[in-house]
Amino acid sequence: MTDFPILALLAGMIVAATPILLAGIGELVVEKAGVLNLGVEGMMIVGAICGFAVAYETQSVTLGYLGAAMGGAALALVFGVLTQFLMTNQVATGLALTLTGLGVAALIGQPYIGIRGTTVGAVPLGPMREIPVLGPVLFRHDAMVYISILIVACVWYVLRFTRAGLVLRAIGENHHAAHALGCKVIVTRLAAIVFGGVCAGLGGAYLSLVRVPQWAEGMTAGAGWIALALVVFAGWRAWGVLVGACLFGGLTALQLFLQAAGVAVLGEYLSMIPYVMTIVALVIISSGRVRAAPCAPASLGLPFTAAT
């Protein structure tokens, strides 16, 4: 038994948290606009393969992320058109989106199986890397970790302090009232859905470009569902998503590190907790009480047809 590598554990927690943080914050915006998109898993995996393929072909990680964002957005747009214009059921469409995404990603990914991925270096933060404790935990990551936190901050700021955020929240709370006030319900929701797709795509690409880093069919392995639960768990608050992602990611990392340190007893239970928490969160979201919970958008999942 060696000294328990607590700093490595915390750093591992951040790496494990980033994909679900990105997907979660995207879904938060979608749900704040009153749309429930259950296709996060599908958008993530499409992002994972688009990111990997583009990064591999162009040898540019930045372009890879861009490709991932576009892949996620394209799939999200399909969802947007189906639910906002053709008025399909959001739950069913979201589930279909996940299945479609898994299939499409497997198809695109055929030539990329078993190929070595690119290596993404850490951001050169100079002397900050050397700060005791904080350095190894916080300042030795790749750019996307910091970008994801920046996205959380932006989402929080926009939702809370800007007019656009107010409009988005108003639409999520009561789309008829917002419509009566002249807010463009469909357009705003479409924008939110696409933003969700971009974020989910980036989260997926983080898996295939940084965390794993390679392509494998079905590699998201349920991360999209965790991200969905995360939004509920966070009570639809931006910073709550960050805390939840660290908690979920930390539990994943913790059980592996405990085993590596020779403490195996708790392993199974710890690996269960994110899923148990997910189930509890999903029970809450489906119980109908969710609309009474603070910050839950009142029009979540309801179809909108402009009253004449």
Partner: protein, 360 residues
């Protein structure tokens, strides 16, 4: 309407893969049921290479069909039944979880031969089982790992606590310790055959805990990718060669070679000599192969590994030869005694020297 069209298309695709039902009778038809996609680069990929070898061997006299990504459970029974109905003469079902489905379908199609990989149930005279002695390969890989580690710590990513996996851990550890008496092995159970993110995290945790050689009994190449990031960590290819990660990261590999067995069995069906059997072949018969050992491994270690391989192939050395104690200190194998297959097939204990608790 559009959605309905899409669903219809989705339902047609698997049927196309399974092939045309109306086939000429003079050809022998061999069916393969796969757990993963043929492009998984590991387990299923190697089975599919075996299928292609059958086609290459018999040319026009044989026709092969396959279906990939078949879930274990009710779906498997449906797929196997469909294959039997479409005129297959012999059907290979290539995952442990198809065991009951294979036997159930075999009862209904006595004329069709069934071959189930890694299982133990042969309830009908038309069912055979086959598996490979992967642990022989793991002993050799373990020997290389023990010789190479500078930190004296080997990391091992294990899927599920079943005899197959435990055997691999014990074989690796015993031979790593023979090469290096100070070696320690840290095992992480990930409870999945395939979850690249989790395997990557596990590899990272092992590296952070001081391991500089990481072995795995899971299907993805995520650990290799993590080793690539870490820079100073070695890994091995698992079930398939994984040469893309060589030569620095991937020292060698264990390869499953099903081709000779598949050719043998299809030929037996053609000749009418097929009989139910339980095959458990290893390095000797060529079912388990060791991939190229790269130059990263010093010459004397490579020579030692190859000598061990020869000794195992000739039967001179048994991987599990006493004295070996169980983890609790009780005697398992006395001096010179070798393990019998029954114990190996049901192995549920760590050997002495392994730390950590074996999950139940």
């Amino acid at each position: 309407m559009k959605k309905r069209l899409f669903l219809a298309a989705a339902a047609v695709v698997p049927a196309l893969v399974a092939g045309d039902a109306a086939m000429a009778q003079d050809k022998t038809k061999a069916g393969f049921v796969y757990f993963g996609p043929v492009g998984d680069g590991g387990w299923t990929y190697e089975h599919d290479l075996g299928r292609k070898a059958v086609e290459a061997e018999f040319g026009d006299r044989v026709e092969t069909i396959y279906q990939e990504s078949v879930p274990e459970g009710a779906d498997a029974e449906r797929v196997i039944t469909h294959m039997a109905l479409s005129g297959a003469d012999i059907i290979f079902t290539t995952s442990f979880g198809y065991m009951d489905a294979t036997n159930a379908v075999a009862a209904r199609f006595p004329e069709v031969k069934f071959e189930h990989a890694t299982g133990y149930k042969r309830e009908h005279p038309n069912v055979s089982t086959y598996a490979a002695r992967f642990y022989e390969g793991r002993a050799i890989i373990g020997y290389i790992a023990g010789s190479m580690t500078r930190t004296n710590r080997i990391g091992y990513i294990a899927a599920f606590p079943i005899p197959e996996v435990i055997r691999g851990i014990n074989a690796s550890y015993l031979w790593a310790r023979k090469a290096n008496p100070d070696v320690e092995m840290t095992v992480i159970w990930v409870y999945t055959w395939f979850d690249p993110a989790k395997e990557a995290d596990a590899a990272q945790a092992l590296i952070d805990a001081g391991a500089d050689v990481v072995m795995q009994h899971t299907d993805s190449t995520a650990p290799q990718a993590v080793a690539q990031k870490a820079g100073t960590v070695w890994t091995f290819g698992q079930t398939s060669d994984g040469a893309a990660f060589g030569p620095k990261l991937r020292l060698s590999s264990i390869i499953d070679d099903w081709a000779p067995y598949y050719i043998d069995r299809v030929r037996a069906v053609m000749d009418g000599t097929w009989e139910s059997s339980a095959t458990w072949d290893g390095i000797d018969q060529g079912m388990v192969k060791i991939g190229e050992i790269t130059d990263e491994v010093p010459a004397e270690v490579k020579a030692g590994a190859l000598a061990l391989k020869e000794a195992i192939a000739s039967g001179e050395t048994h991987v599990f030869t006493g004295p070996v104690n169980r983890q609790d200190g009780s005697v398992w194998l006395a001096e010179g005694e070798t393990a019998d297959d029954a114990t190996l097939l049901g192995m549920n204990f760590y050997v002495e020297g392994l730390t950590g608790t074996l999950p139940r």
